[in-house]
Amino acid sequence: MEVRTAPALAVPQTSSELEVRIRKRFPHPEGTFHLHVHFRALAGFTILFGASGAGKTTVLDCIAGLTDPDQGRIALGGEQLYDSDGKRNVPAWKRHIGYVLQDLALFPHLTAEENVAYGLRQFGAAERRARSREMLEAFRIDRLRERRPAQISGGERQRVALARTLVTEPRALLLDEPLAALDRPTRSSIVEDLRRWNQRYRIPILFVTHSVEEVFALGEEVIVLEAGKIVAQGQPRDVIDAPRLETVAQLAGFENIFDATVLAGHEDRGTMTCRIGTASLDLETPMIRAEAGSQVRIGIRAGDIMLATESPRGLSARNILPGAIQKLESRAGMISAFVNCSGAEFEVHLTLAAREALSLSSGKNVWVVIKTHSCHLLRQ
């Protein structure tokens, strides 16, 4: 039998690999919360995806050194940052890991430029200024240099927070829903800036989000967390497009999620009628085992909905709902139309060509067309 000699050497460890293997338990309103994850993140974007309370932020806190795991090991580029066996725990401020917190935490007493220069204490004043100015320009916020955080907008604060972290040239970057509070154009332009920056530095970037759009915009790799465990990992297409998992299904894919009440089941047809919570709008959905009057949640993909400018006839689709376009947003080669049907708002994805062919504009009356089997019933 052949003796295998050190196969680990065959795969040279890249200098910037982040390896995380941690366990942590802490009290939680619904019993003890157990976090137990093991993953590697290579240079580039890795998305941590999951519902709130899944443990995403705790994972980042442990990597940054702001919280201690109970047990495990965290290594970056081969250097042990935390090791419960070796009793090693590098303090947060010596880890050189950039962490952009969800609420940014800009220093209110410092200007934008002083915030960006904050982590550059080891350099002389001239070098500090040069580096922070360069970063302010790269993030297109140099005109805000003299302003304090209270005097600038949300998107600008986001850029200051990112610039403040990136200027320190961290060995890994942790981003905790950094774009959650922003509107779509701002979001995608910041994502572009981040991408550009990462092409140059090539470090592991862990990006926490519960937005599917961000998963696809950034993700080379996505890790799905559910109740403290990794339940799926892989390419966004493989993980998100096959929503077998409830978390993924609940969060992913469905731009439209409605709470509804079952009105009646039609056993013979294998369908049932559900009324959407706030609107007096009925949808025909596939049959599930549910009593009339019970609460369900319906998810519909924006790409599964059709729009018609005249009341369509002779269609197999069972849900044809009149409504009016509230607004149209264009992004990355496609259109998002938001349509109000009796108080329920549907997001519909269209091609640019479809918008032109139908000459859609906001205020226009349209019909929303949804197949019964495009209405996915999600467990609550």
Binding site: W93, A105, P108, Y118, G119, T165
Partner: protein, 224 residues
Amino acid sequence: MNWEAFWLTVRLASLVSVVLLVIGIPIAYWIASSRWRWKFLVEAAVALPIVLPPTVLGFYVLVALGSRSPLGRWWESLTGHTLAFTFEGLVIGSLLYSLPFAVQPFAAAFGAVDPRLLRASASLGQSPVQTFRRVVIPLSTAGLVTGFTLSFAHTLGEFGVVLMVGGNIPGVTRTVSIDIYDRVQDAQYASANQTALVLLVISFVLLAIVYGVNRRAGMVGPWR
């Protein structure tokens, strides 16, 4: 107006408030950040001088400074005289007496600094000491000014502790408040009034500073 007593009082209050700034900041930071379960006992002890009659505090300080206590004996072996009825003894008594007036505003200010800023600072490579100097202190200036000013003003007006610990030695331990008391005893009302008025005005100005500083701290806006 007894200028000797006035300058003695100013010297005492300045020394006490400066020393309290130095020792009060670490105590206050510990109170603001410690998670020790018995911390409340320390907080209660620090607050004691607010409620204790100055005579009680003064009595124990006098005992502690006297030649029958270890501290008193140590000081006596060092300097050849006891601390009681000296300016130094007065400083020690006043430090205890004004401690909560410095520590409480400091601790409140430190505690009000958003802990997320401290996390951000750590992740930007700054040690706890650097974070304290660059984030906590600048964001606590109103509280530091308040504590400094209050301890100054409070020491300025102390009476009971001074009388117990310092006695009434002109140029050494006779402060303004004692001077006023003496003059009233001697029925020199005009002169007592003069000194009392000076103390009143100074105290008002100091408190106006405290409230002015805190008013501005509460208003964050584009004009800053």
